[in-house]
């Protein structure tokens, strides 16, 4: 069932990935821009079970590893996203008060985005990547939090509707 759900989600992720790589990447905005795909993947994971979160993270991480803007080795984003997807879905799993509250979702995704990016940075450091300016890293992480807070409320209605349409229909089927 997980594999089937994973396969159903894949075209949606592919479209969002395409939008991220071709459209969102054109906008050079404060703090290095916004990662719509990362926000989408974490939001999607937060709405599902931990297993589905890990699988979602795996697929999203693979796509992120294929991006030309990725500097780390293939699999680095995959590893981070598996853990992030699993963790974010694990936190809210079984707690309908948590999942039903949009503010909780905004907060958890807004925290998860910079944490995920920070984890990527730390693991990249272990693989020998250059760290760069500390101030720049701080600005980038801070701005990604702000952008996430701004983007998640806009994205959430679409994501929750698509998610429920797909998986509730699947459950009924």
């Amino acid at each position: 069932m997980f594999a089937r759900r994973f396969l159903i989600s894949f075209p949606i992720f592919a479209i969002v990935y395409l939008i991220q790589e071709s459209i969102v990447s054109q906008f050079r905005i404060f703090g290095g821009g916004v990662s719509l795909f990362l926000i989408f993947a974490l939001l999607w994971s937060a709405l599902g079970t931990p297993e589905l979160g890990a699988l979602t993270g795996f697929g999203a991480g693979l796509l992120m590893d294929l991006s030309q803007t990725t500097s780390g080795p293939m699999g680095q984003w995959t590893l981070i996203m598996i853990l992030a997807g699993f963790s974010i879905s694990y936190l809210g799993y079984g707690d309908d008060n948590f999942r039903g509250n949009p503010i909780s979702l905004v907060v958890i995704v807004a925290i998860a985005v910079p944490l995920t990016r920070f984890a990527y940075l730390i693991i990249g450091l272990m693989f020998g990547s250059e760290l760069g300016s500390t101030l720049q890293i701080f600005i980038s992480l801070f701005s990604s939090t702000l952008w996430t807070v701004a983007v998640v409320p806009l994205l959430m209605p679409f994501v929750t509707r698509i998610h429920s349409a797909l998986f509730e229909a699947e459950s009924r089927g």
């Binding site: 395409l18 459209i23 054109q26 050079r28 890990a54 294929l66 699999g75 680095q76 995959t78």
Partner: protein, 307 residues
């Protein structure tokens, strides 16, 4: 799962993590398949990215400009200022090049005649308070420039110093209608008086009615006593038309002055000259005739056919 999850969930998580670590290991070991995956995805994605860049880049630039509005404005101002500076330095450089060329030619002329000269820049042209045709130069008595000294350029006579101040001097141009100079026709001893007419042409009146002028004759300064106000041998102009009116006591001619007075920037004041007259040494060289190749064909009659 909330309290640790079932075994299947754990197994899935572990297998996914192991897969990602496997991918990292393969990539770090330089396995070609991994590189191929990335390059393949980029090959597939690049046309879409190009199309999106064409459509969305202006919008992206707009947003980028909004966030960098203050800095962009500052950069534009800085670039404008830099551009203005560069334009000014380019103009200065062009002016300096032209002045250098003029200076070189005037020094060449002075060198041939062995004149001792003081180079000067023209600091003002003409006068708004009078009709006299004059220029002001940035050399004066401090540089050895005195009244009644000859002023030349690389092309020939400019005029004569009328007033000299410590750091500047006023020069009466040869084109001024009050200007008079004793002149000589190059290649002969015909002498006359050349008068300025207020234009680029002057009138030469010969003193001797036995001689004749031709169009194209070069007119030189005859020189004055003690070489002041005029040193001998300085080219003045070229005869463009000769007035052969019947009944005239002496011949007159229109002379086109060599110097273009409207573009003067660097001149030289002759402060000393050799005792010997340079004669015709300063006459401008005419154009070198280009030899026209000629072909001579010799026709050799062949033997006449026998009847």
């Amino acid at each position: 799962m909330r309290n640790g999850g079932d075994n299947r969930g754990r197994l899935l998580l572990i297998s996914l993590i192991v897969t990602s670590l496997f991918l990292i290991t393969l990539d770090l070991r330089g396995v070609q398949v991994i590189d191929g995956l990335r390059s393949g995805s980029q090959t597939a994605l690049s046309p879409v990215q190009s199309a999106a860049a064409t459509v969305f880049r202006p919008v992206g630039n707009f947003f980028s400009d909004i966030t960098r509005l203050g800095r962009t404005r500052g950069e534009i101002e800085k670039l404008k200022a830099d551009n203005e500076k560069l334009r000014q330095s380019l103009i200065n450089r062009t002016i300096a090049d032209a002045e250098l060329l003029e200076l070189k030619s005037v020094l060449d002329l002075a060198g041939i005649a062995k004149y001792r000269v003081v180079a000067a820049k023209v600091i003002s042209l003409g006068s708004t308070s009078s009709f006299a045709q004059t220029i002001s130069i940035d050399a004066g008595t401090n540089d050895g420039v005195k009244e009644n000294m000859t002023v030349i350029t690389g092309l020939g006579l400019v005029g004569v110093v009328k007033k000299s101040y410590p750091n500047s001097a006023l020069v009466q141009l040869a084109s001024d209608s009050a200007f008079r100079v004793g002149a000589r026709v190059a290649g002969s001893q015909q002498i006359g008086i050349l008068s300025g007419q207020g234009t680029s042409k002057a009138v030469l009146q010969l003193l001797d009615n036995q001689t004749t002028l031709k169009v194209g004759d070069v007119i030189l300064a005859r020189g004055s006593q003690n070489n002041r106000p005029f040193v001998p041998g300085v080219p003045i102009g070229e005869v463009t038309s000769v007035d052969n009116a019947a009944g005239a006591v002496t011949q007159t001619a229109d002379v086109k002055l060599f110097v273009n007075f409207s573009t003067l920037s660097v001149v030289a004041v002759v402060v000393g000259s050799p005792k010997s007259d340079p004669r015709d040494a300063l006459v401008p060289k005419g154009p070198i005739p280009i030899p026209v190749p000629t072909v001579t064909i010799y026709a050799t009659p062949s033997g006449s056919p026998k009847p």
